[in-house]
């Protein structure tokens, strides 16, 4: 008995010591998140209930910022600005999500199941990664010489006599915004789906094929369910990026298309911080609801 107690003691002491040191090692990271993430979010929440005039923020409780956001939203006949903006953003979200999912799944499937050597997989994966190293703005403006009025696409279409005057909807339109989103963020879909697919036991596919499943059936009944985690993680990335975006919609929409991010940006430009904060809190709530709904599909905690 005594010896067991002794053993337990010697085991317990260094463990506690190591726990303290682990805690200390995590402190710089934790403090950074506390100072630049948690505190700012808390302050945004508080300020969203504050008053303001043209010159300053007034620390007095009011609900007028939220009232202003939903101004006119009670009416059934015409849709208010906020709902319209959210509908437009959600529309982009849905389209971009669908396109990046199909494209990302196809590319990941090709890399995971059709490329046979690990070396080749690494090379092709790197090929997909390299454009990611250039800035988003550059990748956006690089569409101008292609899609502009006198761009390559229009030149080619005119030369082939498909159209007799340049297409205007190619650039600074919903189309170019979606194109830029897909261009910028499909990568975020490929990585987690590829990761999930690489963990699938190859013998399951063989078993399905041996039992007479067609190629489509293997994908639908085996690959798709088993890469669900990757799909959900990728979806969370893409959806949260598109929901909060103001840059892509701004540059590719020719500053003409509304988005929630843009409203917040414009309001901070006019120093209407409490109004911007209220919009940010509502956006946060919407994004959290979407993420929550997505995580209902799969328990991420179990998979990590």
């Amino acid at each position: 008995m005594a010896s067991i107690d002794y053993l337990r003691q010697t085991k317990a002491a260094p463990v506690r010591h190591r726990r303290v040191s682990a805690w200390l090692q995590a402190t710089p990271l934790t403090l950074t998140f506390l100072l630049f993430f948690i505190v700012p979010l808390a302050i945004t929440l508080i300020v969203s209930f504050w008053d303001y005039n043209e010159y300053q923020i007034i620390p007095a409780f009011t609900l007028k910022n939220y009232a202003a956001v939903f101004d006119g939203c009670g009416s059934f006949t015409d849709v208010c600005v906020t709902f319209k903006t959210y509908l437009s953003t959600l529309k982009f979200c849905a389209i971009v999500w669908a396109v990046t999912l199909v494209l990302g799944f196809t590319v990941a499937y090709f890399l995971a199941f059709h490329v046979r050597t690990t070396a080749m997989q690494t090379v092709l994966f790197l090929v997909c990664t390299i454009p990611f190293w250039t800035s988003n703005v550059i990748r956006m403006i690089s569409w101008i010489p292609l899609l502009g009025r006198n761009g390559l696409v229009n030149q080619a279409l005119m030369a082939a006599h498909v159209v007799d005057h340049p297409l205007e909807w190619l650039l600074y339109s919903d189309f170019s915004v979606v194109l830029a989103f897909v261009h910028l963020y499909t990568f975020f879909m490929i990585v987690p789906i590829f990761n999930a697919m690489m963990r699938i036991d190859r013998s399951l596919l063989e078993a399905a094929r041996d039992s007479g499943a067609s190629g489509w059936q293997v994908i639908r009944e085996v690959v798709l369910p088993l890469s669900k985690t990757g799909i959900v993680i990728g979806s969370i990335f893409v959806v949260t990026i598109v929901m909060g975006d103001f840059l892509t919609v701004g540059v590719m929409g020719g500053q003409q298309i509304a988005s929630i991010g843009k409203i917040i940006q414009v309001q901070t430009g006019y120093l209407q911080f409490p109004a911007a904060a209220a919009n940010a809190i509502i956006l946060l709530a919407v994004v959290l609801m979407i993420v929550w709904a997505l995580t209902r599909i799969v328990d991420i905690r179990k998979e990590l």
Partner: protein, 301 residues
């Protein structure tokens, strides 16, 4: 290679379709960037689109003299300094936190969830929050200074927002989650037997870290640094509301997209991309040299 060739079965038809999709996807990724790379060598008479009117370095020369009234080279310097600071802090903080997460500690799940939340939080919200926090801090500083009777200090105080305060913090909320996740992946594959061997041979915790753990994970640590640099170098969304008076290069570039109508903007794009690629290639070369030195050391022994 020889064995795999012997067992190679014929490719199914679907392979060729998927390969075509993949090739088109790669073309889609690279096509636009290559276009502006080519167009940045546009002749002096040339415009924003094809055709090329001669080939020249005219627009790079124009870039050297600055674009309009924007101080491009000042912004360039600020971006480099900020990116270096972010790189160093990202490496140190995520390496240290990665070591911590190998064991359980109080609040580890909370820290993990906060990191993930920081990663997926819409950037405009983070940016606005940090901007607001520093503005309120300014008000607080002025109020306190006035209350203490130091009116001159309160009047002179402009802002606590800046490159190495709010902007640095904003960048870290973006780079640290990436760094931490890479460290998770690294330590998941790390064999603790090496460390135990070092400890059994009498190494102190620092010695076993310095001479055993660090050399093994070294390439990944450099990878985290490369990630940190490029993420910071190109960052716009989180910096936008949290930078104060002086902009970074990507922010200036974003401002120029609406006003500049000459290929000088392509030259600027090419330059920043080359900078990013140079850091990446440099990082990869360092990784290779470290790996080679370790291999020769192992052979020598």
């Amino acid at each position: 290679m020889a064995t795999s060739r012997r067992h190679r079965e014929p490719r199914p038809a679907s392979f060729y379709w998927l390969a075509l999709v993949f090739a088109l996807f790669v073309l889609f990724l690279y096509g636009p960037v290559i276009t502006i790379f080519i167009l940045s060598f546009q002749g002096p008479e040339g415009g924003l689109t094809f055709p090329m009117r001669g080939v020249s370095l005219h627009w790079f020369a124009a870039l050297r003299d600055g674009v309009g009234d924007v101080d491009i080279w000042g912004a360039f310097g600020r971006s480099v300094k900020l990116a270096i600071a972010v790189t160093v802090l990202t490496v140190l903080f995520s390496l240290s936190a990665g070591l911590a997460f190998r064991r359980r500690f109080r609040g580890d799940t909370a820290v993990f969830y906060v990191s993930v939340a920081s990663l997926i939080m819409p950037s405009i919200i983070v940016s606005l929050g940090i901007g607001l926090t520093f503005r309120l801090l300014d008000t607080l500083i002025k109020t306190v200074a006035t209350a203490w009777g130091d009116q001159a200090f309160a009047d002179d105080w402009t802002t606590s927002m800046g490159l190495f305060t709010s902007a640095l913090g904003a960048h870290l909320t973006w780079t640290l989650p990436f760094g931490l996740l890479v460290m998770f992946a690294v330590f998941n594959r790390f064999n603790p037997a090496y460390e135990e061997a070092a400890r059994d041979l009498g190494a102190s915790p620092w010695q076993s870290f310095r001479h055993v753990v660090l050399p093994i994970i070294g390439p990944s640590v450099i990878g985290v640094g490369m990630f940190g640099f490029t993420l910071s170098w190109d960052e716009i969304a989180r910096t936008s509301q949290a930078i104060g008076e002086q902009n970074t290069l990507p922010l200036e570039l974003q401002g120029l997209t609406t006003s500049v109508t000459t290929p000088v903007i392509y030259a600027l794009g090419t330059m920043t991309t080359v900078m990013s690629l140079a850091v990446m290639v440099g990082g990869l070369l360092v990784v290779r040299r470290v790996a080679r030195r370790r291999r020769t050391a192992a052979v020598g022994r």
